[in-house]
Symmetry: C2
Subunit: 329 residues, 2 copies
């Protein structure tokens, strides 16, 4: 195995899949990529497997560092994740474990924050913005004046567990009515399947419909799918209004698994925001005419963000070393 | 009129009243106070009247500076307020107008932000917190790492116009379902009067019940008043959850006209937050055991905040000068 120190790995752990890229440190070019469904086994071993696949794909190169983007509450110093309600119920020292498995320094960051770091890194013109990830879960990362907001609790941006509706099924977090329960991928699938089971007419197949199928059908004009997409759009627009009003920012970049659906996903959000702007001078001031940008489906902000995290970790020289210790500066 | 430069005025413009204090610059002691209901005439003239009353009460002293705390969107540089949906529909150059009226430099700040500056000034132990004002309107001011968040739109903290319920009456801002429409003072009065008009049994007097009467009755055990207070508490607790999750902070200080009701106002908020903490490990981590503090009824955070703004304005030497120009540093 070569060890030219010229490779960085970025691995994004989502609710249903792990996406990874290998990037040439100097050129910044992608040399390999992998995307695998989560199989339910130990998460750290699956992440290590993806890393090995990337190293292999990049010509058996050994990485200078590995960045891992995960949901939940992340201790970036120790590389430990917890409270990731859609991925890992308990506490997992994913950084040290993957570092030990591969013998390379690992740096762990919250997935939405990693994506926001990537937006800054790629030369985002605004120094205040929110990145909103909509997939199996929903979370945000906010940048104010060029600085990422973590919050003293480390939970800044957890918009997925703010209140969206009065009741509804119990969320994995333990509450009812969370945004994730009406607007994340599993919620879209649940709502579609419930309505199909009630016999509502649709081109969708009852019983096994996923969020991606709903948005595909919405794009093809299916009335039920359009109705569901509209309801999700209203909930997400209100969450965006909340972020924009509470932080006083005027730019929101959306990514995440659900956002890959493109126009059928974005249009209902924009429609609702436009209705709000038309109804309210306050909201009209709060939102610029086009405050929302959707990342292209192949953007992989989590994986690219993890690369940025790996690079920054090396530069700051405080890696979670293979033995799990924090190296000196 | 004496001109010892030893007096600062702080004037807080609320939705229904103007509260002002005169403070000795050196000792920080209060030398006069005024509290008058808003009469519907030109706001700047009423503010100037309050200021004259304070000067008179403090022994005809001329103030070194006047701080004015107002709701809405505030341009601190020009002293202009706008979008204050509960006070002033249009745009008002309140700083320059009051300065011209009184011949003293005026500094204008958003009311909740002024209150937050006062919390910091009085030696708040936490350098990250939110101040939540609940009165005729509802708004918040957030401090992150000792710095006040204004946001690029200047609207940071406008939690009163985030979504609380699906429908409901149209808010003064133009939207429906805003937090202010279910949890601010006028909403509490409206809800109580609607339910009394439907003949629900209560010790409250139909037709002319205000929020203060509702909370007084709740404190005395009136079942309808308790039910209304509980519903308001649930909405405010959810808004606090939103602030706490989005900013990752764990301390919220509450003030404003409604909060003067004390325990009958606070208890339902704490009860709902405790229910959320019990149900959700995520919320349990997000909220320390006692994240919410209620200011005492006589705290006057807006007026004291305006004094802090006046003092800071003098120190920074960028007053809105009497002629409306910004003086050189």
């Amino acid at each position: 195995m070569s060890d030219d120190g010229g490779l960085l790995l970025g691995i994004d752990v989502g609710g249903t899949k792990i996406a990874g890229i290998a990037v040439d440190t100097r050129s910044g070019e992608r040399r390999a990529e992998r995307r695998v469904p989560i199989d339910g086994g130990p998460l750290e071993l699956q992440v290590a497997d993806v890393a090995r696949g990337l190293m292999n794909g990049a010509g058996d190169a050994r990485p200078a560092a590995i960045g891992i983007a995960v949901p939940g509450l992340v201790d970036t110093g120790s590389g430990v994740m917890r409270l990731a309600v859609n991925v890992e119920a308990g506490e997992l020292a994913i950084g040290p474990l993957v570092a030990q498995e591969l013998g390379a320094p690992c740096f762990v960051e919250h997935d939405a924050r990693a994506a926001a770091l990537w937006l800054l890194d790629r030369g985002e013109p605004d120094d205040s913005l929110a990145y909103l990830s909509v997939g199996t879960g929903i979370s945000a990362a906010v940048v104010l004046g060029g600085r990422l907001v973590r919050g003293v609790t480390g939970l800044a941006g957890e918009v997925g567990h703010t209140q969206a509706v009065e009741d509804g099924p119990v969320c994995r977090c333990g509450l009812r009515g969370c945004l994730e329960m009406v607007a994340a991928g599993p919620a879209v699938a649940r709502i579609a399947n419930e309505r199909l089971a009630r016999g509502e007419p649709s081109s969708l197949q009852a019983g096994a419909t996923g969020a991606d199928a709903v948005y595909r059908a919405a794009g093809e004009g299916d009335a039920l799918a359009i109705e569901i997409a509209n309801e999700v759009g209203v909930h997400l627009a209100r969450a965006i209004r909340g972020i924009v009003l509470l932080y006083g920012i005027d730019r929101v970049v959306i990514g995440g698994g659900m956002s890959r659906a493109g126009e059928p996903f974005l249009r209902p959000i924009l429609d609702e925001l436009e209705r709000e702007q038309a109804a309210s001078p306050l909201i009209s001031h709060a939102l610029t005419p086009n405050p929302v940008e959707l990342l292209p489906p192949d953007a992989d902000p989590g994986a690219w963000g993890a690369v940025v995290v790996a690079r920054a970790g090396l530069r700051n020289r405080v890696p979670v070393a293979p033995e799990g210790e924090v190296a000196d500066a």
